[in-house]
């Protein structure tokens, strides 16, 4: 205990009396923190932009067309599949999901959006936060997500005009916005929801698709009566409904095209930034210890134990790192305030916390060599007595 208290005394006195030098190191750590937190927030933002709708589904299982490799765009289910799924024992509800994209052109600057078809009050249709749900049939009504509202100022009650290429012609449709749901980004775009029959009418489609009025869902979201029985239910659904394959939400998200590769890239960037941080901090503290060899020699010669010297180095590194991470955190927050909403930048508590903990570790990790070096300094050699 006495060692720790002495170490604190030495470490803090040195930091305070050389605050300019140590502040510079803290600023370097702050920049590394800014970079790491920015990459973490960008990674989370990209992930959210890609998976938010699927991740928020009020369902546990997703049903795909057999051999579609759990890729939503590759899956197109038979219209009867939904009814068949709802009859399976253990299924609380099932909702078809139809995916496409379109462009709202009734704005000063056209806005690209995901166009999702879903049945009101079924899995696949998020909870409303404003207005009402659309009517069924071919009602020209839409529910927008908060992302659309934020980027366009469209409000519940407004009419929007969308453009879809059908066959070789551009077709224009007017939809009345009747409700709003929370942010439900899908495939990097904000989302509008329409009834399935409307979706089939207004979605971009090829010449061949124009001959059919029947909407075919890409996937079906299945809500189970007992969410803990996912594995058993997967098997039961595949056994009882033909031509399907079933995945949980995580598998579905990881199979969104580009999702895993993108997250891997972002995580690799984060890892290398941390690695650079370890090397920079390690280098600084090693140089500092080399400069302090005679001073450490004096400390040991007059009776300071290795514990005092070692702990002083550890405490100093932790203090400097913590100050740097703190400054970096504030920098990152201020920086994020100036970013436009189009940049996917999301502070996720867990991911940011992990990044901050890792950042707090890179100081002691980087300084480990210098700490060991400090402890091993022999006073006799340091003072050139030997």
């Amino acid at each position: 205990m006495k060692n720790i208290s002495l170490a604190f005394y030495l470490a803090l006195k040195e930091v305070f009396r050389n605050r300019g030098r140590f502040l510079l190191v803290s600023l370097v750590i702050a920049l590394i923190t800014l970079l790491v937190l920015f990459i973490a927030a960008l990674g989370e933002g990209l992930a959210t932009a890609n998976r938010q709708y699927v991740g928020n589904l009020d369902a546990q299982l997703i049903v795909f067309l057999k051999k579609s490799d759990y890729i939503i765009a590759s899956s197109r289910l038979d219209a009867n599949t939904v009814r068949a799924l709802r009859r399976v024992d253990g299924v609380a509800d099932a909702g078809p999901i139809y995916t496409s994209s379109t462009e709202i052109i009734s704005l000063p600057k056209p806005l690209k959006v995901s166009l999702l078809g879903a049945e009101a009050d079924r899995p696949g249709m998020p909870k409303l936060i404003e207005g009402r749900s659309f009517r069924g049939g071919e009602a020209r009504e839409a529910v927008i997500d908060r992302g659309v509202a934020l980027r366009s100022n469209i409000k519940v009650g407004d009419e929007i005009r969308i453009r879809s290429t059908q066959g070789t012609d551009d077709q224009f449709f007017i939809l009345k916005v009747v409700g709003m749901v929370d942010a439900q980004s899908y495939f990097f775009q904000p989302t509008i929801f329409v009834p399935p029959a409307t979706w089939e009418k207004i979605r971009p489609q090829s010449e061949a698709d124009l001959n059919s009025d029947t909407p075919y869902p890409n996937i079906v979201a299945v809500k189970m009566t007992d969410p803990t029985q996912a594995e058993m239910m997967k098997t039961r659904l595949v056994d009882q409904v033909t031509n399907i394959e079933v995945a949980d939400l995580n598998t579905t998200i990881n199979n969104i095209p580009g999702y895993s590769a993108q997250q891997g890239t972002v995580q690799t960037q984060g890892f290398f930034t941390l690695l650079i941080g370890v090397l920079v901090i390690g280098g600084f503290f090693q140089i500092q210890i080399l400069q302090k060899v005679p001073q450490i020699g004096v400390l040991k010669a007059i009776g300071s134990s290795n514990g005092v010297v070692g702990w002083a180095a550890v405490i100093q590194i932790i203090v400097v790192t913590a100050i740097g991470v703190g400054i970096g955190g504030v920098f990152t927050y201020l920086f994020s305030l100036g970013l436009p909403p189009t940049i996917p930048f999301v502070f996720n508590g867990t991911r940011s916390l992990v990044a901050v903990i890792l950042l707090l570790f890179i100081g002691p990790l980087g300084g480990m060599v210098s700490i060991v070096y400090a402890v091993r300094i022999e006073p006799l050699k340091a003072l050139r007595l030997g």
Partner: protein, 243 residues
Amino acid sequence: MNSVALEVKDLVKSFSLDGGLINAVDNVSFQVHAGEFVALVGPSGSGKTTMLSILAALLSPTSGQVFIDGQDLSQMNEKRRVKLRREKIGFTFQSNNLIPFLTAQENVEFMLRLNGQADKAGRVRSAEILARLGLSDRMHNLPAQLSGGQQQRVAIARALIHNPAVVLADEPTASLDTERAFQVVETFANLVHENNRAGIMVTHDLRMCQYVDRVLQMQDGKLVRMVETKKEIMELAMGTMKH
């Protein structure tokens, strides 16, 4: 006669060099009493710095014994040596003496902190000893703001503040001009006598011997002469002593 604060018995320190053994300290024995200030002199390579390193518990002897305040250094492990250095020994070095980020007073008080004595009385004592050394207006200065002589005086204060049994000084005047050197050694000698400590100063400058009670002269690792009378010591210091 005061009690024996330091006793060296048949001390040998050997180093291997070019496949052979060299005795840097060769069968040396002497005693230093409390209140006695002794100079250890000799030409370069005579073994005086090696001797001082052993007395400071920084180097283990090859054979022989060193007793500081009755405790045998040769029987101690590293942990006990660190404790001994902290409690029983005061040390000043040629240079790089002080902790650069502590003020003069904090440097002195650091010895008290090491020994768990950093209370109000300790602070008063450190201010008193600095004032005694003419540094009352420099107590809150960092070492870089002090002259070489002032730094040495702070180091002397630090070496004495915790009442060690033995105070060791390695060439304390090496980086000082003549006038400052005399001042520092005189002050050192006075404090050793006043505080009844055993002081040992390694020096190559024989003029500094005028302030000591005894001179131990080393050559080739051996203790070749002991100068004990004041007359002889002064002759040695003035350079008039016959060899």
